[in-house]
């Protein structure tokens, strides 16, 4: 049994121009101890996906199974139990902390809300958490504005860990941090996973970060999953034209490696009232008539799924 199983998940937003298909028919599983990287450009629905899974947003259709139990529509006490098991670390450590709350209180808040802890237990747990994420005890009574970005993100991680979750959605947790601090936070997240067996869904637009931290990677484009594969395989044999373009746009620090960039036409459009066919087709170098039909996700090799009707032709 997988820790997280998502089946045909859909989230549509009603906007003046119609229906925004932010997440459209996405399925995957995440095992204990594992990290699923979700990559894609802004507006591809990766954050919405994360929020729907931990029930910050309600799904339009589909199923979310946590520990084998369907939690898609639970409410009240049951929902609270879900939220103990599934937490989130937000992208922006500047706006995701309450500026008027001391960081110690921020970390204690989930424990208060969950109930069942005595005052001294909460105090003890909070100082343990601060120790765990590497925040100096002397900063206990500081306010967020007194901390730098890296430390703030550590507070966000401590808050997410407070209730011993089994699963954490990390929504671009390092993208607003400088590289040296980014490396510190990535190491922390990986250490915590090793110690506590937490599963992560790691949302990022940075492919080298995704490669570093993930066991599997799922590539999204306008609300749909276009490719999913074990990490190593994705970087050696990517199959979907969009994945290929994304990978080719990575700028490495190897100055002798020639760029073989796949230039995409135009920009990402929107998922409002999309046509039934492949949403990437208007920018795709290989698009044909057949691409106007709905694309099926197909298992090309073990665990490697691609949604492209021309996948065999373009990869031979």
């Amino acid at each position: 049994m997988s820790l997280i199983e998502v089946r045909n998940l859909k989230k549509y937003f009603s906007v003046p121009a119609g229906l925004n298909h932010a997440v459209d028919d996405v399925s995957f599983t995440i095992e204990k101890d594992e990290t699923l990287g979700v990559v894609g450009e802004s507006g591809c629905g990766k954050s919405t996906l994360g929020r729907v899974i931990i029930r910050l947003l309600d799904a339009t259709d589909g199923q979310i199974l946590l520990d084998g139990e369907d939690v898609t529509r639970v409410s009240g006490k049951k929902l609270k139990q879900v939220q103990r098991k599934a937490q989130i670390v937000f992208q922006d450590p500047y706006s995701s902390l309450n500026p008027r709350q001391r960081i110690e209180d921020t970390i204690r808040e989930p424990l208060h809300n969950a109930g069942g802890y005595s005052g001294s237990e909460i105090k003890e747990r909070a100082s343990k958490l601060m120790d765990l994420v590497g925040i100096d005890a002397r900063l206990r009574a500081s306010y967020p504005h007194e901390l730098d970005g890296g430390r703030r993100q550590r507070v966000g991680i401590a808050r997410a860990l407070a209730l011993n979750p089994k699963f954490i959605v990390c929504d671009e947790p390092v993208s607003s941090l400088d590289v040296s601090i980014q490396a510190q936070v990535l190491n922390l997240l990986m250490d915590l996973q090793e110690q506590m067996g937490i599963a992560y869904m790691f949302i990022t637009h940075n492919l080298s970060v995704a490669r570093h931290i993930s066991n599997h990677i799922c590539v999204m484009y306008l609300g749909q999953m276009v490719e999913k594969s074990p990490t190593r395989e994705l970087f050696t044999t990517s199959l979907h034209p969009y994945t290929k373009a994304l990978l080719s746009a990575i700028l490495t620090t190897d100055i002798y490696k020639p760029l073989q960039r796949v230039q995409l036409k135009g920009e990402i459009t929107s998922a409002i009232n999309p046509s039934p066919g492949c949403r990437f087709a208007p920018r795709c170098l290989y698009s044909t008539e057949a691409c106007s039909q709905p694309q099926q996700l197909e298992e090309i090799s073990k665990d490697h799924f691609v949604a492209c009707c021309r996948v065999r032709e373009i990869n031979t």
């Binding site: 040296s180 490396a183 492919l207 994304l246 920009e267």
Partner: protein
């Protein structure tokens, strides 16, 4: 130090502080560098290193107060921009030196059509009639890949990548000799970043524009710049050609930056971050400002001001313990 009269741009001993209440933030502490015409220099460093302040002091657009220029000179083709009057500077800004700002969402005037924003600069610096300026602006838009029909549209009707193109068109409209690009692709998605970088490279080649590219992304530097200056706590700590800095990085901070990046070719389980954080700019450590975080620091690093030493022809490094560093710790 005398300025190099052959250099196209020569920045000498630039010092900028910000006042914040009674505190003084030491943002730029004695920055000097030279650039030849047609060169692309990258200013690399983390948030708060002083990169943007350096660029803004070249154009003299720092808000004063709180920013105070405490000395230094900026020679552009031999003329010191710092000594120029405000009126003379108006002729430099947008004409000889143009800037592309980091955030395309806020750099455009929201209540003016993008076309008019380009026309404004064109008419200010050239003796163009309205229709001539309009024609030229349309030409600029087309050059950055925007259809002439969008001339009358407002910034909110453009996506992030398209806005950045508008800003590039605006910056290049008067054929500047020096382009200051402050994190031009940071706010953009990777595939759009690729398009914008290609565009900048192409236009730079076409007009032989010199460019200072400010970024924290070493990958962007590797594929666009000819020279690199690594900035830490308001000082250049390493300077050299792209090859020198990327293949033989010398300063422990530069080495640390490279080691912090997740590799695309090797599998490693742990990254090697630089310990600690940037020093407080109101209270910089004595001696080498990097010594509290440096694994190779020795006693001498804590006391003396470290000079920028030439360690190979054209490759400079501000480190007094250069022998101890590992040859390459990537």
């Amino acid at each position: 130090m005398n300025h190099n009269s052959e250099a196209f741009l020569s920045v000498r001993e630039l010092n900028v502080v910000y006042t914040s209440g009674k505190k003084i933030v030491h943002a730029v502490n004695g920055v000097s560098f030279d650039m030849k015409r047609g060169e692309t220099l990258a200013l690399v460093g983390e948030t708060g290193a002083g990169k943007t302040t350096i660029a803004k002091s070249i154009l003299r657009i720092l808000p004063d107060p709180p920013a105070i220029l405490r000395g230094g000179a900026v020679f552009l083709e031999g003329e010191d921009l710092i000594k120029k009057s405000e009126k003379e500077m108006l002729k430099v800004r947008g004409k000889k030196v143009a800037m592309v700002f980091q955030d395309p969402m806020t750099a455009l005037n929201p209540v003016m059509t993008v076309g008019d924003q380009i026309v404004e600069g064109l008419r200010l610096h050239n003796d163009y009639s309205k229709s001539m300026a309009r024609e030229k602006a349309i030409e600029m838009l087309q050059m950055v890949g925007i259809h002439a029909q969008r001339f009358e549209e407002y910034p909110f009707q453009f996506s992030g990548g398209m806005k950045q193109r508008v800003i590039i068109a605006m910056a290049l409209a008067c054929n500047p000799e020096l382009l200051l690009a402050d994190e031009p692709t940071t706010a953009l998605d990777v595939t759009i970043q690729a398009q914008v970088l290609d565009l900048i490279n192409e236009l730079k080649g076409k007009y032989r524009t010199s460019m200072i590219l400010i970024t924290h992304d070493l990958g962007v530097v590797a594929h666009t710049c000819s020279h690199v200056a690594v900035v830490y706590a308001g000082k250049i700590i390493e300077y050299g050609t792209r090859e020198a800095v990327f293949v033989h990085p010398a300063h422990p901070y530069t080495l640390g930056l490279f080691a912090s990046l997740p590799s695309m070719s090797q599998d490693c389980t742990r990254l090697k971050p630089i310990p600690g954080t940037m020093p407080d700019p109101t209270n910089l450590p004595q001696g080498c400002t990097f010594h509290p975080r440096c694994p190779y620091a020795i006693e001498a690093c804590k006391n003396d001001e470290i000079p920028l030493l030439e360690i190979a022809p054209g490759h400079f490094c501000r480190c007094c313990n250069i022998e101890e560093r590992p040859e390459k710790c990537l």
